[in-house]
């Protein structure tokens, strides 16, 4: 290997690759250190070499040396250094491929707006041009160039799999006519997927097909250009990036499709929607949508109906970086999950501030860095653990595998699913499930159990007590924590509904007291509160309850109260209590 040749090539390419945005990002970093704690590599290891600014400095020093005028005048002062040999390239590879998942959490927290992931991508493109990339990334890029999809699935295998899934769809819907259409002309929706969904993990595709079927959508998949993933994004290869986008776009035009819907894949959505049209220099005449947006629309338009009592296990949601931070898709998945499950729990921090799954930026295909990936997954593991949830749901296949890996490594005992799977499970397919039966299962009437309603707002107390009394319960009420405690001790209610934000002592304090006194421990508690009240929009109050080492409340209902959900929860808690008493 000729050192000089590689080094020379990288230097030449560097001069071509520096865009205006990159030059500004290099120029404005003041090394204030704000990014340091936001990076999971640093937060988990406390190794200063893992600070985003330090990692990008490995590239910045070359920019200063070869391009920026300040580097020619006062090189020592601005940290300009030349690229000497292949060893320098290896170090660069370790920093840009091995120590960054391009999740952009640091960018969000940078006061100067330095887009670290963009700089990392430029650095990766230099390395890729001289073959300095992890073997797994090279293999996937090669497969995408040569076969059109990242897992080298042949057209024959792909079509056979779709046919097989059509049969599974028929079994699932009980309709012999149900099928997954291929290359249908003039469809409303052209659906593209992550190859993982046909090669190894078809449950998400089956769920999507079931949802399209129930919504009565005129949709199709395609025989070519069906891979929505794009390793051009991770390898810094704009040519591949353009090609993977163009293959999908051309097919939509060819079929006269009205909309391109991208399945639950974080980077696939970002690359297809935001990046590929630029790389491919195409001005698209059709919209591109994430399947999360599609499902949300179906529910809002009344095209599919869900019964959340089907999914009883506790569920939390992991925001994929490419959807939350880079695409602003944060509320759709929460809306879908609240409609699909009984017990939804928020994770902290969340939305655009969420920690990376640890597998972003193509990290899942870089075995050489797996030990480090798992070590820094500690941040994610702690976050997952604090939710106490049984299932972590996400909207990205790459996150699914990264989360599964870290759950195993940190022995967390959780399952991982994608949103469409839970939506599909909760969906009422009218032909198969008679609606009356479902309705009858939902609300159980009380038989005189006494519920103490605690809330400082008289309107809410009146509303809740009336609702309970209309459904066969007896009620007591209290407007402050002190009054509540007196009533609990004197009246021994069978259940308590508790507001958290109250003047004077808070509901959190009362909850703590309830769960610390042995004689009160058995009274079930449902927290009824606003998660992000108007006065404190940044605080999710659920964490004050779930992050304590106390038994969790039996229920958690958000304001404004959905009365069906509340009555179902109350009914279930009493039913469960009865069974427990009988068993004992």
């Amino acid at each position: 290997m000729n050192n000089t040749e590689n080094v020379q090539k990288v230097i030449e390419l560097l001069k071509k690759k520096i865009s205006r945005q990159a030059a500004i990002s290099f120029g404005v970093c003041v090394h204030c250190g704000m990014c340091t704690d936001t990076c999971h590599y640093y937060a988990a290891t406390k190794d200063p070499k893992m600070a985003p600014a330090y990692k990008v400095d490995q590239l910045r020093k070359l920019y200063k040396y070869y391009i920026d005028w300040t580097g020619r005048i006062v090189p020592g002062w601005v940290g300009a250094k030349p690229l000497k040999d292949d060893k320098d390239l290896d170090m660069l590879m370790d920093a840009l491929y091995g120590s960054c998942t391009m999740c952009r959490r640091c960018t969000l927290n940078c006061p100067m707006g330095v887009d670290t992931a963009m700089l990392v991508r430029i650095g990766r493109s230099l390395l890729t041009s001289v073959g300095k990339a992890p073997q797994g990334v090279k293999d996937v890029c090669k497969a995408q160039y040569e076969t059109g999809n990242q897992m080298a699935v042949t057209k024959e295998d792909y079509l056979e799999t779709i046919e097989w899934l059509s049969e599974e769809l028929q079994t699932a819907t009980g309709d012999r006519g149900a099928k997954i259409p291929i290359d249908k002309k003039n469809a409303n929706v052209v659906y593209t997927i992550n190859p993982r969904e046909v090669k190894y993990a078809p449950l998400s595709l089956l769920a999507a097909a079931r949802i399209f079927y129930a919504a009565g959508e005129n949709w199709t998949m395609t025989s070519e250009g069906w891979d929505n993933t794009n390793f051009g994004l991770f390898a810094g290869d704009d040519v591949l990036g353009a090609l993977m986008g163009k293959r999908q776009f051309d097919k939509v035009y060819e079929l006269g499709g009205r909309k391109l819907v991208v399945s639950e894949c974080g980077h696939g959505f970002r690359a297809t929607k935001w990046e590929a049209p630029n790389w491919a220099k195409m001005d698209l005449k059709f919209p591109i949508e994430s399947f999360l947006e599609t499902m949300t629309r179906y529910i809002k338009e009344g095209r599919i109906r869900l019964n959340s009592s089907v999914n009883k296990e506790s569920v939390t949601y992991h925001d994929p970086c490419n959807l939350a931070r880079s695409s602003g898709i944060t509320e759709e998945p929460r809306f879908l999950l609240r409609q699909s499950v009984m017990d939804y729990r928020e994770m902290y921090p969340n939305r655009a501030d969420n920690w990376c799954c640890s597998g972003g930026g193509g990290a899942m295909s870089m075995s050489e860095y797996t030990p480090r990936r798992l070590e820094v997954a500690k941040m994610k593991a702690e976050q997952l653990k604090a939710t106490g949830a049984q299932i972590v749901v996400t909207a990205c296949h790459n996150c699914v595998d990264a989360l599964s890996d870290l759950i195993k490594y940190y022995k967390l005992n959780m399952n991982v699913k994608v949103v469409s799977e839970l939506v599909s499970e909760a969906m009422i397919i009218e032909k198969r499930i008679p609606l009356k039966v479902v309705a009858a299962e939902e609300i159980i009437r009380g038989s005189g159990e006494r519920i103490l309603v605690i809330d400082d707002e008289p309107d809410i107390v009146t509303y809740l007590t009336t609702l309970f009394e209309d459904h066969g319960y007896k009620t007591l009420s209290a407007f402050s924590v002190d009054e509540a405690m007196n009533k609990i001790l004197s009246e021994h209610p069978d259940m308590i509904t508790l507001d958290i934000l109250m003047p004077g002592k808070t509901g959190i304090k009362l909850y703590h007291e309830l769960r610390s006194k042995k004689e009160l421990l058995n009274i079930p508690v449902i927290i009824i509160t606003g998660i992000n009240p108007v006065d404190y929009p940044q605080i999710d109050f659920r964490k004050f309850i779930y992050e304590r080492s106390l038994p969790h409340p039996e229920g958690f209902i958000e304001k404004p109260v959905n009365k069906e959900q509340l009555l179902i929860t109350v009914g279930k808690i009493f039913a469960h209590k009865q069974t427990a008493v009988k068993d004992a």
């Binding site: 497969a143 990242q150 056979e160 097989w164 993982r196 993990a201 078809p202 295909s365 075995s367």
Partner: protein, 105 residues
């Protein structure tokens, strides 16, 4: 790359725990790998799937599609996940001594 003792043999595995040389695979190795993938007991059905995967890989040098796996072994999709909780790619393929699948897995 690290060397570990699997079923009494020193074997090289990658950082994700996949064995590197399919020739060193035997049933003892498979059992040792199974214990790392939430499969405490290899039943007849497990062996059927694992042996199928290995034969397919030795013949075509690639892992089969999930459809082929289900069809040729007569194990339906749902049951496949019950047999291999960590899934067909990382669970079954690893036990069968295939290399780590590439891409978003």
């Amino acid at each position: 790359m690290a060397k570990v003792n699997l079923g009494g043999v020193e074997i090289e595995i990658d950082e994700d725990g996949f064995i590197q040389d399919p020739n060193v695979w035997n049933e003892k190795v498979a059992e040792a790998l199974a214990s790392t993938e939430d499969v405490p007991n290899m039943t007849e059905e497990h062996w059927k799937v694992v042996k199928y995967l290995r034969e397919y890989y030795l013949k075509y040098n690639i892992a089969p599609m999930i459809r082929k796996m289900c069809k040729d072994t007569q194990v339906d999709l749902k049951h496949m996940y019950e047999l291999f909780p960590s899934g067909p790619a990382k669970g079954a393929c690893k036990i069968a001594g295939l290399p780590k699948p590439t891409g978003c897995v």
